[in-house]
Symmetry: C2
Subunit: 448 residues, 2 copies
C-alpha cells in the first residue's frame, strides 16, 4: 500500500493527512511534527494569552486520538533534516532524545510553515523577548506574563494587534512600535487610522513611524526598548516581536525543490512541487493570487487549510485544484472588527491597475432598530474593467459579512454595477434596506 | 420643465422620486399617497407593535421635510382613481375632504404596492380582525392591543411569524394557524421545522395543516377561531391575517397598462410598462427572477427600493436597468435568524431543475471561542450545471452573512466547486477556519 509522509502537523499538514485518509482508508499515513503539539489553532493563540481559552481547547487532536480515530500516525518532537527525493526517504532526529529517524515515502507533503524573519534589531536575543509564531512560543510567554507589567510589541501587523488587545485585557501596559506610518500595512492608511483610534481608546500606546533601534537589558531579562526619534529608552518587562515571518523552505531547498520569486516553495495548482510526488502546502508554499495572476506569499490559516485539503486529495491520487486566494483576512481589535479582501490601493498601484475608490460610513442595520453600530467600508474598483478588486471594512457592527460578500464578488469578477444591485438579505435587526456594501458601490459609481 | 408624478409614497415610490431629484434638480416631482404616511419602513412594523420603536422612528420623511430637503411635493390622503395615458393626467380625490385632485405628468411611476388577497374565510369582516400591510393597520391594531390577551394569527409567513414574536414579547398568548403542513412555505420543510421548534420554545402555539374555517364573534369583536379538524372554537380576542397579498394593479388595468402572467404590472428591465413614459416599480410590479429567467411576484422592500431607484433614474431620463432578483429574504424569530435565497427544493422541482442538496449543522464560529452558536445551512445545487441555485439557513449565530454570500454566489452563477473554496474571512470570534458555508458545499460535493 502507498505510504504518505507529511512533514508538519498543523493547518495544512493535518488537513491533508485527514483528507487523504478519508478518501483512501488503505493508505499508510505518517505525520512528522517538529514541535510538541499537533493540530492546534494558531489563530486562537491571542485568546489563549488573554485567558479566554485554555491551551487544551486549542488542540483538536492528540497523536493518540489521531491514531485511534483517523488511523494517522503522528510523531511529535521529530525534526526532519533532509529529504532525499532520489531515495524517496526523509531523515531527521527526535529533538528530545536525539534518536535518528528515517521514513520512506511514496508521496510526500512538505507543510513546514514559517519561521521568524531574522531581525536586524540588536537585542532580540535577550531574555523575555518572544516571537509569537507557535503555541510553544505562547506557552513560554505565559510563564513570564505574571511578572511583566509593561510589554512592548514590535510590529503592528495582525499578530501584534491581537496580542495588544489580549494583553491590555489582562491589565498590562502595552505599547506598539510600528516602523511604517500606520498599523496594518495591508490596509490603506485611512482605514488603519480607525484601528489606531480604537487602540488608543483602549489605552494601548501606538507609536507609528517608530522603527526600533535596539532592545536593551541583559541575558536574563529585557529592560527597555529604544525607538528611532524617541528621547530615551522606554522601560519594558517583556517584548513581543511581530517583525515578520518567512516561509520555512530550508528542507525543500536542500532537496532540490524549487522555490519561487516570493521565496516560498513553488507549486502548481495541484500543490505539487517541481519534484513529482512531492507536494507543498500552507505557509511554506506559494499561494496563487487571483487578482495578480501570479503566486504570492500569504500566511493565513484559511488558505493553508484549503491548500492542505487539495494536497490531501492529490496525495490520495486525485487531481484536485486549488482555486486561489484573494487575500481575505479579518481581525478583532477590542470592539472593532477590521477586515480586508482583494488589493489595497497601494497593492493595486504596484500592479499598475488604474483605480477608483470610495469610502462610506454607515450603520450596520436599520437606524431606528436598537443597537445599530457604525461601520466604514472602502471599495476599490478597476477603473477600466469596472470590476471590484478590493474591499476594506472596519467598524463596531457586522464587518465580516460585508468582507465575505466582497470576497465572493471579487472571486467572481463582479462589476461595481452588479455589486450595487446585489440581492442581499434585509430585516431591521440584521441589515439595512440599502446594505452599506451597496451604498459603497453607489459611491464608487458616482465617481466613474 | 418635465413633470414627474409618482403614485405611492413608500419604498419604491419615494426612492424613485428622491433618485430622480438627485439626478435632475430641475424636474417638478409630485408624490401622491393614499394613506396618511409617506416614507415609512414597512419591515419595521413588527418592532413597532412590540414597542421596540415608535411609529415616528419608522418615518424617514414628513411631507414638509421632503419638500424642504429634496424639493419633492408629497400629498398624503390622496387616492388616485384613474390614469389617462392619452391625456397624460391622473385623477382622484382627497380621502379626508373629498376634494377632486388632478395632476398632469410627462412621466409617471405607479408604485401602488399590494392589497390583501380577498380571504375566503367567513368572519374576516368582524371587529378586531386586522391585516398588517400598512402602518395604519398597525396603528389601529395597537389601539386594541391592551385589551387583547389571546391573539390568533392566520398564516405562518414572514409577517405572521414576526408578529408572533412581537406579540409574545409583550406578553400575549399567541397561536399561529397555518393551512399548509409547515410555516414559511418558501423554505423547505426540514428548515421550517427549526423555526417551528423556536416558536414552540417561546410559547407560541403552532398549528400546521390547520386551515381556518371561520372566525366567530360579532361586529364589535371577534371571539374565536375555528380551524379544520379542531374540536372546537379557540377563543381569541383579536385576529391578525397574514393570508397573502396581491399586487395593487387596479389603477394600471383600467388605464390599459398590461399586467403579466403573475398578475402584477408587466415591466421591462427599465421598469417601464407597455405605455411609454409610464413606469411601475415595487410590489405592484413584476420582478425579474434571475434563476427562473422570467418575472415573478416577490414582495420585499429591498427589491422594491432597487426597482424604485432604477425607475427614478429612468424618470430622470437615464436608461438604467434592474439587475433582477434571486429572492433573498431573512427574518428573526426570537433568538433564531432564518434566511433563504434562490430556489427551494419545491421551487426548483417546479422549474424541472435536477437538484442535489445537503444540509449541515455547524458552529457559527470557532468551537473553542466563547459564545459559539449553532447554525444550519442547506444548499441546493443544479445537478447538471453544478451551480448553486438555492441556500437556506437558520440558527442562533450569523445566518445573514451566509445567506448574503450565497446570494452573491447565486447571482454570479458560481459552481459548488468554487463555493467550496471561497476565500472567506476568519478569526475565531467571527468565523471558523472552514466556514459552515464551505462545509455545506463540501457536503453537496460528496453527493455529486
Amino acid at each position: 500500500m502507498a505510504k504518505i509522509v507529511v512533514i508538519g502537523g498543523n493547518a495544512a499538514g493535518l488537513t491533508a493527512a485527514s483528507r487523504a485518509r478519508r478518501l483512501d482508508p488503505r493508505l499508510e499515513i505518517t505525520v512528522l511534527e517538529k514541535g510538541p503539539y499537533i493540530s492546534y489553532s494558531t489563530c486562537g493563540i491571542p485568546y489563549y494569552v488573554a485567558g479566554d481559552v485554555s491551551a487544551e481547547q486549542l488542540l483538536s487532536f492528540s497523536p493518540a486520538r489521531l491514531l485511534s480515530e483517523r488511523n494517522i500516525e503522528a510523531r511529535i518532537n521529530v525534526e526532519i533534516e533532509e529529504v532525499l527525493p532520489s531515495r524517496k526517504r526523509v531523515f531527521g532526529r527526535r529533538i528530545d532524545t536525539g534518536e535518528r529517524v528515517s521514513e520512506q515515502f511514496d508521496r510526500l507533503l512538505i507543510a513546514t510553515g514559517v519561521k521568524p524573519r531574522t531581525s536586524q534589531i540588536p537585542g532580540t536575543g535577550l531574555g523575555n523577548v518572544f516571537s509569537m509564531i507557535s503555541l510553544e512560543d505562547a506557552v513560554r510567554f505565559r510563564t513570564v506574563l505574571g511578572h511583566s507589567r509593561k510589554i512592548a510589541i514590535v510590529g503592528g501587523g495582525y499578530v501584534g494587534l491581537e496580542m495588544a488587545e489580549s494583553l491590555r485585557r489582562v491589565g498590562k501596559q502595552v505599547t506598539i512600535f510600528e516602523r511604517q506610518n500606520q498599523v496594518m500595512p495591508s490596509m490603506d492608511a485611512d482605514m488603519a487610522r480607525i484601528v489606531e483610534y480604537e487602540l488608543n481608546r483602549h489605552g494601548v500606546g501606538v507609536r507609528i513611524s517608530s522603527p526600533v533601534e535596539a532592545l536593551v537589558g541583559n541575558d536574563d531579562h529585557v529592560t527597555g526598548i529604544k525607538a528611532k526619534g524617541a528621547l530615551g529608552v522606554e522601560p519594558s518587562d517583556a517584548v513581543l516581536l511581530d517583525t515578520g515571518v518567512r516561509p520555512n523552505t530550508d528542507l525543500a531547498e536542500t532537496a532540490g525543490i524549487r522555490t519561487g520569486p516570493t521565496g516560498a516553495i513553488a507549486v502548481n495548482e495541484y500543490m505539487e512541487t517541481n519534484v513529482p510526488g512531492i507536494f507543498a502546502a500552507g505557509n511554506c508554499a506559494e499561494a496563487f493570487c487571483l487578482l495578480r495572476g501570479r503566486p504570492i506569499l500569504h500566511h493565513i490559516g484559511t488558505v493553508a487549510a484549503k491548500q492542505g485539503r487539495v494536497a490531501g486529495e492529490n496525495l490520495a491520487g486525485r487531481r484536485s485544484k486549488f482555486a486561489g486566494t484573494v487575500g481575505t483576512t479579518i481581525l478583532r481589535v477590542f470592539d472593532l472588527a477590521v477586515g480586508r479582501t482583494g488589493l489595497s490601493l497601494a497593492e493595486a498601484s504596484a500592479e499598475r491597475i488604474p483605480t477608483v475608490s470610495a469610502r462610506i460610513e454607515a450603520l450596520d442595520h436599520a437606524a431606528y432598530y436598537p443597537d445599530t453600530k457604525k461601520i466604514w467600508i472602502k471599495l476599490i474598483v478597476d477603473r477600466e474593467s469596472r470590476k471590484l478588486i478590493g474591499a476594506q471594512s472596519a467598524g463596531y457592527g457586522d464587518v465580516s459579512k460585508r468582507i465575505d460578500v466582497a470576497a465572493t464578488a471579487i472571486m467572481t469578477s463582479m462589476t461595481v454595477e452588479n455589486l450595487s444591485q446585489l440581492d442581499l438579505a434585509y430585516t431591521p435587526p440584521y441589515g439595512s434596506l440599502w446594505d452599506p456594501l451597496i451604498v459603497a458601490a453607489q459611491a464608487v459609481l458616482r465617481k466613474l
